[in-house]
């Protein structure tokens, strides 16, 4: 069993705004092992991106702990050691704005090397060429500005930049959502190749469950700041338990009859996704849940291990020892 490289324990991130407190991440716990991919799935307001930004340090956590190789790093990026900044990198969602439009590809790739003082100027230059080659881009791209590149190519530069300091963990926030199918395929295969080659761990965030099926080792689904269900990939798709998971799976458009057979029956949700400023009381999903019971609007579900490694947080799956705590209906 590979060791856990990232452990997130009871993570909370709240934002105080004029409209109220946004409970973006509300007691989220998970772990990522070396060389494996944890897929984080969710829609708007689920908090998945906030989890990534808090783990990487763009936000300081409101509560909970983040441990990297057993080292506590529950702080903002400015308080972290340089070694930590080398080991964890992030690839953002929008290739259009994740590269400075006024810099060349070479300058962009060289920045992490300069910051961490890797080698001499000449060695850094050679390394940027090597990074480009790794993502299968031609050398003369070094002198181009990002707006001269296509979306897929920009994302490849972003990935090359993330690889520059030989990190151990890369957070990928919807890296291919804005890209076409064929470019997505190329990039995903490239990422999987790097993972194999360098024993990289990925925290892979996406809303695309079909993509998740082919990329993740474990999947966790988030809704309004909490994790609803988490399981190893195969188990997750074979036996989705949480009503939200089933709704999500049934909504994905697929292209073949085999995939259709895999999906649960179509559940058309009613109503909008609530905003994380106004999380519904009790179970956050109860306003849209098809199996919602009366107690769901008052009681909080707890995470229960239903099968080996398969956890669900739903009042339909009560914790085994606490049955007597639930109110009688």
């Amino acid at each position: 069993m590979k060791r856990e490289i990232l452990v997130v324990d009871g993570l909370q991130k709240f934002f105080v705004t004029s409209r109220g407190t946004v409970r973006a991440v509300d007691r989220v716990s998970f772990s990522v092992r070396e060389g494996e991919t944890l897929g984080l799935v969710g829609e708007s307001g689920s908090g998945k991106s906030t989890v990534a930004y808090t783990v990487i340090g763009l936000h300081a956590p409101t509560g909970g702990r983040i441990l990297f190789n057993s080292q506590d790093m529950s702080t903002s990026i400015w308080k972290r050691s340089r070694a930590l900044k080398r080991s964890i990198q992030i690839v953002f969602q929008d290739p259009g704005t994740s590269l400075n439009p006024r810099r060349t590809v070479q300058q962009i790739l060289e920045l992490p090397l300069k910051v961490h003082r890797v080698g001499t100027a000449r060695e850094r230059k050679a390394r940027t060429v090597e990074l480009l080659r790794k993502v299968e881009l031609p050398e003369d791209y070094l002198y181009k500005a990002p707006h001269m590149l296509g979306g897929g190519e920009r994302q490849m530069v972003a990935i090359a930049r993330a690889l520059a300091t030989d990190p151990r963990l890369i957070l990928l926030d919807e890296p291919t959502s804005a890209l076409d199918v064929s470019i997505q395929a190329k990039i995903i295969n490239m990422l999987l190749g790097f993972q194999n080659e360098m024993e990289l761990a990925y925290l892979f965030i996406t809303h695309d469950l079909s993509l998740m099926r082919n990329v993740a080792t474990r999947v966790a689904i988030m809704y309004l700041g909490k994790i609803c269900e988490t399981a190893p990939t195969e188990e997750f798709f074979r036996n989705p338990l949480h009503p939200y998971t089933q709704m999500l799976l049934s909504s994905i458009p697929v292209v073949s009859k085999e995939e259709e057979a895999m999906r649960p029956a179509r559940i058309i949700s009613k109503g909008e996704i609530p905003s994380p400023v106004n999380v519904p009381p009790g179970c956050g999903f109860h306003t849209r849940c098809v199996v919602c019971a009366t107690r769901c609007s008052t009681d909080q579900p707890v995470m229960v291990e239903v099968e080996d490694g398969h956890f669900v947080s739903c009042l339909s799956f009560p914790p085994p020892s606490d049955v007597q705590q639930l109110p009688v209906n």
């Binding site: 708007s44 395929a185 190329k186 082919n214």
Partner: protein, 329 residues
């Protein structure tokens, strides 16, 4: 099968840039029957949005220019009609829904104002204010917006993405057009909201008996939303077939490549994708535009353009590829 209500013949469009002219559309031809749901699928840059902008003549010109072909709506060539005639057709004959509902709705006018404006301009007979308001409320009710009266007085910024898109759908159908063009209407929405909106759109379109041209890059969505699918690549239509037929028996190598590159819910990894990049529109390949990337390319593919050929009658299937004839009658 009567006369097609919308027919595009041999459309050529080019864009002027610093380096020369980009030959973006290279003989696009497609047709839509009354009440038919037609899907137009292709990746970014293939020209699908450009094609539809030509239909309503909202192509940005300069730098764009229609250099050849015809677009016939009920037999009339839209490229040759007067501005006045075009204004009359826009809205009441052909209407359009755009990808980004935020940009499509004017933030400083209420929903009610905007829907009423559409009805006022799109209906030929003079209507009283009360009648317009009545129709507007009816349209909002039809798209299942909660509390239409309150919605009438709301501003777009107060609505969620899904609701805004429903308003756009209401506006597009309020004048009972014969053809509706939907350009990636759900791409910006969450998965479960997308399922809601698509379900609604489908039902409404069937109720109103409107023909739809559904543009998307998502093969899964087009499979659910259309009776007939056209596949577009680099400014040409490469394949067209009844929906089920296309997905069960794809013929064109590009279609095959696309389908294989899609991540499947059933797992199994993602294929490598299609090697190469979309052609340079400045100097597009003579002959078939896909041939530089085609695994089955033959010598004739580089020299001549394949002709659109019918290769199946029931179910209907057409393709432009030398592997299946294509040398012309």
């Amino acid at each position: 099968m009567g006369d097609p209500i919308l027919q595009i013949d041999d459309l050529h469009v080019s864009y002027k840039v610093y380096e020369g002219r980009l030959r973006v559309l290279n003989g696009v031809a497609l047709h839509v029957e009354r009440g038919q749901r037609v899907g137009l699928v292709g990746e970014a840059g293939c020209g699908k949005t450009t094609t539809m902008r030509c239909v309503l003549r909202i192509l940005q010109s300069p730098p764009g220019r229609i250099t050849g072909g015809a677009i016939r709506y009920r037999g009339t060539n839209l490229l040759r009609v007067s501005q006045g005639e075009l204004q009359r057709i826009r809205g009441s004959g052909i209407s359009m829904i755009f990808q980004d509902p935020v940009a499509a709705l004017n933030p400083v006018f209420t929903i009610g104002d905007q829907v009423c404006a559409v009805i006022r301009h799109g209906t030929h007979k003079r209507l009283t204010r009360a009648e317009i308001r009545r129709r507007a409320l009816g349209a909002l009710r039809e798209v299942q917006l909660p509390d239409p009266d309150r919605m009438f007085a709301s501003y777009p910024v107060q609505l969620s993405g899904g609701m805004r898109q429903r308003v756009c759908i209401a506006m597009a159908l309020a004048t009972e057009p014969e053809v509706m063009i939907a350009d990636e209407p759900t791409t910006a929405l969450d998965v479960t909201i997308q399922a809601q909106v698509l379900w609604l759109l489908d039902r409404l379109v069937q109720d109103h008996e409107t023909a739809v041209v559904f543009i998307t890059h998502s093969l899964g969505v087009v499979r659910e939303m259309s009776d007939w699918v056209y596949v577009m690549y680099a400014g040409t239509i490469v394949e067209g077939a009844e929906t089920n037929e296309l997905f069960e028996r794809p013929l064109h190598p590009y279609t095959l490549g696309l389908l294989s590159a899609l991540p499947k819910l059933t797992g199994g990894g993602i294929a490598k994708g299609i090697p190469g990049r979309i052609p340079d529109y400045l100097n597009p390949p003579t002959g078939c535009r896909f041939s530089p990337r085609c695994p089955n390319a033959m010598r004739v593919c580089d020299q001549e353009r394949p002709i659109w050929t019918r290769v199946g009658d029931t179910p209907a299937h057409e393709v432009a590829c030398f592997l299946y004839g294509g040398e012309g009658v």
